[in-house]
């Protein structure tokens, strides 16, 4: 039964699964990162992975609306990274 389940997983579902697992590996770097730069870049990578994951979910469920959500997510991820970097660099926004 498990073998049938594994055989029924399509390519895109596999990619989505791998992206989820690697996002958790990045979460380790966010929690235990030695410097603040490591944390910022790890959060940024997690956000990028999530944007790709949203597009993949939209493909799997055959819905175009997820592309809009992914665009907004990537956009806010970009702005969040710039704001946090500037705040850490200069002490103000």
């Amino acid at each position: 039964m498990i073998f049938e389940l594994i055989k029924s997983v399509t390519f895109f579902e596999l990619i989505a699964l791998v992206l989820t697992v690697t996002a958790f590996i990045c979460l380790y770097r966010v929690v235990f990162g030695p410097r603040v730069g490591n944390r910022i870049i790890a959060v940024n990578v997690i956000g990028t992975k999530t944007a790709v994951l949203l597009v993949l979910i939209g493909f799997i469920f055959d819905s175009l609306y997820f592309v809009d959500v992914a665009l907004v997510y990537a956009l806010f991820n970009f702005i969040m990274t710039i704001a946090v970097s500037k705040y850490i660099e200069m002490g103000r926004i």
Binding site: Y65, D68, I79, I82, K86
Partner: protein, 152 residues
């Protein structure tokens, strides 16, 4: 004159961030308009589109200066826009009441159109009103928070 002040500002962002932001800001605003206008048929609506529109100005204020953003859109005009969006929203509601329906009951409007088209047009107007209000409030909150932080 104001442009010269920005270039001579020593605490400016790097050229990569400035160039990417300058390219991205019009597309962010276009995407916000798309989210507002397609509010009934896709995820999003007035509030979400307004937040995206406001984010473009917030990005401008982060990457360039707060004065630069306030030169583009001042606090006075933001307050006016805030009230104007609410006026659109409640004005459509009151127009519906004046033409014999309940508050925001779109189909009673005396327009020479089929009922579902009147409903869609009124809903678009309401979404635009919400979008303008949310955009102005988000930008104004950011201005006040960052302005107070920089003053101290």
């Amino acid at each position: 004159m104001s442009k010269k002040k920005i270039i001579s500002n020593e605490q400016r962002e790097s050229v990569i961030v400035r160039t990417i932001s300058r390219i991205m800001i019009p597309f962010i605003q276009l995407f916000g308009l798309y989210v507002i206008i397609h509010g009934e048929t896709s995820p999003g609506g007035g509030f979400q589109g307004g937040v995206i529109m406001g984010t473009s100005i917030i990005l401008l204020a982060i990457v360039f200066d707060l004065e630069e953003a306030e030169r583009r859109i001042s606090r006075k005009s933001l307050t006016a826009l805030m009230s104007f969006g609410l006026l659109i929203y409640s004005g459509i509601g009151v127009l519906d009441m004046l033409s014999g329906g309940k508050y925001l009951e779109y189909t009673k409007l005396p327009l020479p159109l089929p009922a579902h088209e009147i409903s869609t047009l009124s809903m678009l107007g309401v979404e635009i009103g919400i979008g303008i209000t949310v955009m102005a409030v988000i930008i104004l909150l950011f201005f006040y928070m960052v302005g107070d932080q920089n003053a101290t």
